[in-house]
């Protein structure tokens, strides 16, 4: 059972997780939405659950003219709106008293010098012990500047007996060269062990449960290989369109927005070998091996294995919605993909020959992220002799919403006739565990404060993912590349995506 580093004997066997160290969290770009909607509510919920260290301060670094008092009031309103738990006024007041606003532009060295002085003063006043957690919540274009200044001012270097860590929000670059540049800039200021790249999908309970399902149960892992698995389908669908993110999305598209990070992370958790332990490096080593084993896709292989498409006007929930090119902020001739479907192969001993199908799209009929392990059918004897059973076993891990796991199997319908029908065994988190699930950011912030990087992406993971994505994008630039397909809003994607599965005699699951 973990104890604190300072061996407080009263800590023994109180909670089954590391206790975070006292520290100051410095949020760069703190006036943005992320701080209001996610970070401050997450920290408040950690405080309400008693999970924060004995001393914690938050310093919000941003350009706009504000005072600590006025910013606390703004954050209070946001916390009231977005917090998982209702706000307790006294707790909020005490928590907010340790939130400070530091006004500076990102390019002013003096702003960092005065930040250092302020942090030292807070250490003296609140006992935060010199530990720093810097959070890059600004626009990615500012990352380099902030990192350079953190380094030049000496703030990135931990004093003896303290730590200095960095949390980086996605996107971790826009392609491999930019990811390299960003990672180099990070590495010049912080060692890899102190760098925490957030992919909030990894903080979700169900994503964490993939490893538990696989390695804490005997039955699944024995079947988790090419002998028994026919194909794997990873789906992330949403009925929403581009909403207010056209500016970002026009430069990103579904491939870079979702596949490079979230979907490839889910793929790695699904396909990885058992790690030697649950330590951050052991888990991430195995994930990287999956990336390394991904069969390269370039040129003609992209045409055969990747479908990209864009939504046109259609209906969602009976409501008419415009096509992507008619969304505000989108270029009328935009060629940005809002849907991608891929057929991937992992060329290792476990998965050779098993296709992994991934699809992600906007303006699809339903919201849902899931991983479906489709098992092979039974041999053509006994019940399978006359007509092939249509519904082989499927194990579905639902990441969101309605988190849970279901298993489809065949059962005899009651009656004199031998009629076999698929039935479903279903586990719902919400049914079994009534307790509200913590937000992903709560878990991830707690882990970063405790120095546990298991649920964060490592540099090589990110770069392998970009290398894989870049080859697809490069192929799309080629004149001979397949054109962008289109699908009506409210459909399950273009016909070409269905054809992608045909050579493997598979069909997409209907969520």
């Amino acid at each position: 059972m973990p104890e604190t580093a300072c061996e407080n004997p009263l800590r023994f066997h109180l909670v089954n997780r590391p206790v975070p160290d006292p520290c100051i969290i410095v949020i760069f770009g703190a006036t943005g939405d992320l701080t209001r909607r996610k970070l401050i509510p997450a920290l408040y919920n950690l405080a309400a659950d008693g999970n924060l260290p004995s001393s914690l301060a938050v310093v919000c670094f941003a350009r706009r003219e504000k005072t600590s008092e006025s910013f606390r009031a703004e954050l209070g309103e946001a916390a009231r709106k977005y917090s998982r738990r209702p706000l307790n006024d006294e707790l909020w007041t005490r928590f907010a008293a340790n939130i400070f606003y530091h006004r500076s532009s990102f390019d002013q060295p003096a702003g960092y010098t005065s930040l250092g002085d302020e942090l030292d003063a807070i250490d003296q006043r609140l006992g935060t012990r010199g530990n720093r957690l810097y959070y890059l919540a600004s626009s990615p274009t500012e990352f380099d500047l902030i990192l350079e200044n953190l380094s030049a001012s000496g703030l990135s270097s931990a004093k003896p007996g303290t730590w200095s860590r960095l949390i980086v929000e996605k996107p971790f670059g826009t392609d491999l060269p930019s990811a390299h540049r960003l990672n180099d800039a990070v590495a010049a200021a912080f060692p890899e062990r102190d760098t925490f790249r957030i992919d909030h999908y990894l903080g979700k309970e169900t994503a964490q449960n993939i490893l538990v399902l696989r390695f804490a149960n005997t039955v699944f892992e024995a079947l988790w290989n090419r002998r028994y698995v026919d194909n794997v389908q990873i789906t992330a669908s949403e009925p929403l369109g581009v909403e207010s993110r056209a500016g970002y999305y026009e430069n990103s598209g579904a491939l870079r927005d979702m596949v490079q990070n979230h979907l490839l992370q889910l793929l790695c958790l699904t396909a990885m070998e058992p790690p030697i332990d649950l330590g951050a490096d052991a888990v991430r080593n195995e994930k990287v091996k999956v990336m390394q084993a991904l069969r390269p896709l370039n040129g003609a292989a992209v045409a055969e294995n990747v479908v990209r498409a864009q939504y046109t006007a259609g209906f969602i929930n009976g409501q008419e919605v415009p096509g992507y090119r008619h969304e505000p902020g989108v270029a009328p001739e935009s060629m940005v993909e809002t849907y991608v479907a891929l057929r991937l192969h992992i060329d290792n001993w476990r998965w050779a020959g098993v296709p992994f199908f991934m699809r992600v799209g906007k303006r699809l009929p339903k919201s849902g992220t899931e991983i479906a392990i489709q098992f092979r059918g039974t041999p053509p004897v006994l019940f399978n002799r006359e007509s092939k059973l249509q519904d082989p076993n499927v194990l579905v891990i639902r990441i969101q919403p309605d988190e849970g796991i279901s298993f489809r199997m065949a059962a005899k319908m009651p009656g004199a006739m031998l009629q076999i029908e698929p039935v479903k065994m279903d586990f719902h988190y919400g049914t079994s565990f009534g307790k509200a699930t913590p937000e992903a950011y709560e878990r991830l912030l707690l882990d970063a404060m405790s120095g546990d990087a298991t649920l964060f992406a490592r540099r090589d993971e990110v770069e392998h993912a970009w290398a894989f994505i870049d080859q697809i994008r490069e192929a799309w630039q080629d004149d001979s590349a397949p054109r962008l397909d289109f699908y009506p809003a409210g459909s399950w994607g273009p016909r070409q995506a269905d054809e992608l599965l045909a050579p493997d005699h598979a069909v997409w699951r209907r969520l």
Binding site: C6, N8, V19, D49, G50, S54, N88, E90, T431, G434
Partner: protein, 350 residues
């Protein structure tokens, strides 16, 4: 709030009647269960007291409950049964989640059939939690205890804590028993212990911990044993040993120093344990229950130190909340027995 134990059924017909209950329920309801929760009570109002409690628990933790109200002193042997389901809508637009409750009234010699009644109605493969309300019986029946996965008691309700802890040890030592033990009185202290521990993450507090010289605990009437368990936890964690030969017992620290203690009753207390003050030479660590809200305020004051204060969650004092807290933690309590041993001689003192 009163909730009915439900439909009266023949004992031999319970499974069929439960099946009917579900086949006739609307499609917006789903049965769920994580645990078999057996409650045994000899209190005459056990049914009325526990049915609303089970209803409340079902909102967060699905179960199949077997509520057994026993009257061993009754002359006539009788077994009666009722079935019901507690349904809660946890999320708008989703199905209601329902937990089953089977209630038994056992009279006279029929009380001896408890293991048979319990084992016939368990949800297969789910763990068996037995909450024994009130005093445990001497000479525990191995047939029952060997299958109990978690024994839940509330030592605060015992008439003779010293004797009851002896029986509890006996139950735990029964061959093949696999019971984990949960004393709700110990669970009641979880957040308070956490709040105390949190103060000693401060270096200035931690460095003074081995100079502890005074403990004062204020508790509500009827919660002396809860306060004693808190004292026992502190003593056992710090290696202090009770010196109870004198009329005024004290603890001896490992370095030979003395720790005085005082348990004070506050007739108007709003919580089981209202506060703890720990003297540390020139410094004081305190945890106080806030009047409003479910929070503690932990403070530390010492010369030349900025005062420290932090709010931390407090356990709610309702029994259903304490039980839920225990059900959701599902861990063993390795510090429980050392804490009891540390204060055992005080159990029989007034």
């Amino acid at each position: 709030m009163t909730v009915s134990p439900g439909l009266a059924v023949e004992v031999g017909d319970i499974d069929r009647q439960l099946g009917l209950l579900w086949s006739q329920s609307d499609a917006g309801k789903v049965r769920a269960s994580l645990v078999n929760l057996v409650i045994y009570s000899e209190a005459p109002d056990a049914m009325a007291a526990n049915t609303p409690l089970l209803f409340a628990i079902a909102a967060d933790h699905a179960f199949r409950a077997l509520l057994v109200q026993a009257q061993p002193e009754a002359k006539k042997s009788a077994v009666r049964a009722w079935i019901t389901a507690h349904c809660h809508l946890r999320e708008t637009g989703k199905k209601e989640i329902c937990s089953e409750q089977i209630t038994f009234q056992l009279d006279g010699p029929a009380v001896g059939r408890l293991p048979s009644i319990v084992f016939s109605h368990l949800d297969t493969d789910l763990p068996l939690y037995l909450w024994w309300q009130g005093d445990l019986h001497p000479d525990p029946d191995p047939q029952l205890w060997r299958w109990v996965d978690r024994l839940i008691v509330d030592s605060n309700s015992w008439s003779d804590p010293a004797g009851q802890f002896r029986i509890l040890r006996e139950i735990q030592s029964l061959g093949r028993t696999r019971s984990a033990l949960a004393d709700l009185n110990w669970t009641r202290l979880f957040h308070l212990r956490y709040a105390v521990a949190q103060i000693f993450d401060l270096p200035a507090a931690l460095e003074r911990l081995d100079r502890i010289d005074r403990v004062e605990i204020v508790h509500a009437p009827g919660y002396r044993l809860t306060a004693l368990q808190l004292l026992g936890w502190l003593a056992s964690r710090l290696g202090s040993i009770l010196d109870h030969d004198d009329r005024a017992p004290v603890f001896r620290r490992p370095d030979g120093g003395t720790v005085t203690f005082r348990l004070k009753v506050n007739q108007d207390a709003k919580a089981c344990v209202e506060s703890i003050d720990i003297g540390l030479g020139d410094a004081t660590a305190s945890v106080r229950r806030k009047i409003s809200g479910d929070y503690y305020l932990g403070t530390f004051t010492a010369p030349h130190q900025a005062p420290f204060a932090q709010m931390l969650p407090a356990e709610r004092d309702k029994t259903s909340d304490i039980l839920l807290s225990e059900l959701s933690r599902i861990s063993r309590h390795p510090l429980f027995w050392p804490s009891i041993r540390a204060i055992e001689p005080l159990l029989s003192r007034p």
